[in-house]
Symmetry: D2
Subunit: 191 residues, 4 copies
């Protein structure tokens, strides 16, 4: 049994929808369990993040997928607070050789989201993790990887002032779901 | 009189259309002249680029805008050959304090194009140049910065097998044109 | 009179020493005033940063230099909380066309610090600012730019368990000081 | 039997020494063979690279490690010509799910080398490969990862005008050697 954890921050809810799709995809692989772990502002005191249960769950996972909206060209401050707190794990190289992945979401199609993913790779490499990207050709007819991102799946949703429920492009969600399966299969291949 | 040079590589023609729009925009500023300088494979021998007339024109410019399609996540090899050859200028810091900008084009909306622009900034900083970005909010109604890129303008054009003329989205070309004007105005502000 | 503000986060004190050197260098240019503005965890509540006086000072500055230690490959969470809060300014493009710069510090010589600077450039471009880099050749005899960074000055200090005062390599501090002067001169050239 | 290929460009010889160390380390893992494949300017005609034997060897490898000096903030033009030519493989996703890694060398300790590694990751992700980084804590007493790089090993060598043989810091070579072993072990773990 392989355990895949998706740890993410989401304010509006778009990144959460992508996280859920990744978890859904991960569970579609045989013999895998997926966990959704949400970073929130309430876990942060004077700029420092703490939540032992999340850290414990990540420590016991075979793969960790990191997700955050792209705010001002990078991960949200709240997600960075989680990453900085995880430097205690880094110091012991506690996540070394785990499978890693990442994803992000913002309003515009490009939106400096590659920078966020390059950052997530950099952080994962400091942890000694193994990075798995999207693995899908761009602009497929069914919407898979319609935006063209290979470091990890991305989603874009234009501002919506209608007051309706938060939605993400079906192609972006399908990309996320396939990514979840890919991460789970990678965890199984990595013995 | 300020001189703006747009130095670019283009294979299919999309990047050339963006280069032309930037030059057009630059000439719309009062008291400016724009030059289009094309990097080609013919200027390269055994991997090394040489064209003294292009270098001379760049040396005499107040602003240099660097442009290349994004191939496999970065500038084209031909454009990199030009950049590597310009290390002779770098060694003398011959372009120090000139205004710099950059742009790129590829098939998909995101398409790892931010990475290309981050590279062009890195190169310009080694030269000691001053970087000017897009300066336009994303996803404007008239198509300006529809893709969301602030390091410099980007364009995306899906593959076209119709055999018709090469085209670039009008919003992307307008973004490029406004950028040309912005670069020219920056050159005038920088005294 | 030109106003240069250095806004930074520092935990151990190394980044503060670099910030001070930049401010010192900025004041060495004729007709400039420099301000040091420190981001702290106390300014953050539930992950969100707020300090109106800092924002007001930045709004009135001709140049803003952004500085943070590199933690886990990026700016500290506290500094990112400041950046995210400044998205209110970004929305109005309140810092558009101001001069921008950045710097960082970490333990090891390379230490993924370029990624931090690339991030700071990305953020500044979203604000429509004009980026000025180090402008100094690498590995100069007097220690200037000894580490080789052109997007902005960097410092590295190995861990010190002696209990003595926090120190930063004199070459790194001199690089920072020259950068402060360069930023101030850029603010004067930009009319 | 696992096959590890190190494909690299080297002009002065420093990157070649690092490539050799990686190959040496790879062969220290049981049941692995390492190949050194050199990209040269002679393989390039009018800016386009071609060498079928190198491509064939890479196609048959379980892991590919990409290496280039950092010139003007990125891979050398010659190495980029190889990467661009390999887009024919990318189009078929011929290297999908192979293990990937990268390394670089330049004169100064930081020297914008992270940007080169971030680029190599981006390219590998377009190919659908699995990235393995250094996996070593920074600044170890025996010189391992003395510069602090986790995306892949880096080396720095100050200019040497003595006319003596090309040398690279022993710590950098040891880091490269350990990386070769790590890549080979990853290829064995990836089933």
């Amino acid at each position: 049994m392989k355990t895949i954890s998706v740890v993410y921050f989401s304010n509006m809810g778009h990144t959460r929808l992508m996280a859920k799709s990744i978890a859904k995809g991960a569970e579609q692989a045989d013999g895998t369990t997926a966990h959704l772990l949400q970073i929130t502002g309430e876990q942060i005191t004077q700029g420092r993040w703490k939540d032992e249960s999340i850290i414990e769950q990540l420590n016991q996972s075979d793969a960790i997928v990191f997700g955050s909206p792209t705010y001002m060209g990078g991960v949200s401050a709240q997600f960075k607070a989680f990453i900085d707190a995880a430097s205690a794990i880094w110091f012991q190289q506690g996540w070394k050789d785990k499978i890693a992945g990442g994803f992000t979401h913002s309003g515009s199609p490009s939106g400096d989201k590659q920078g966020t993913l390059l950052y997530l790779v950099t952080n994962a490499m400091q942890h000694g993790m193994i990075w798995v990207g999207t693995g899908e050709m761009g602009m497929q007819e069914n919407g898979v990887n319609r935006l063209g991102s290979w470091l990890g799946p991305i989603g874009s949703t234009p501002p919506d002032f209608s007051g309706g429920p938060v939605q993400v492009d079906p192609g972006d969600l399908l990309t996320a779901e396939l990514y979840g399966t890919r991460i789970a299969e990678a965890a199984k291949k990595w013995v």
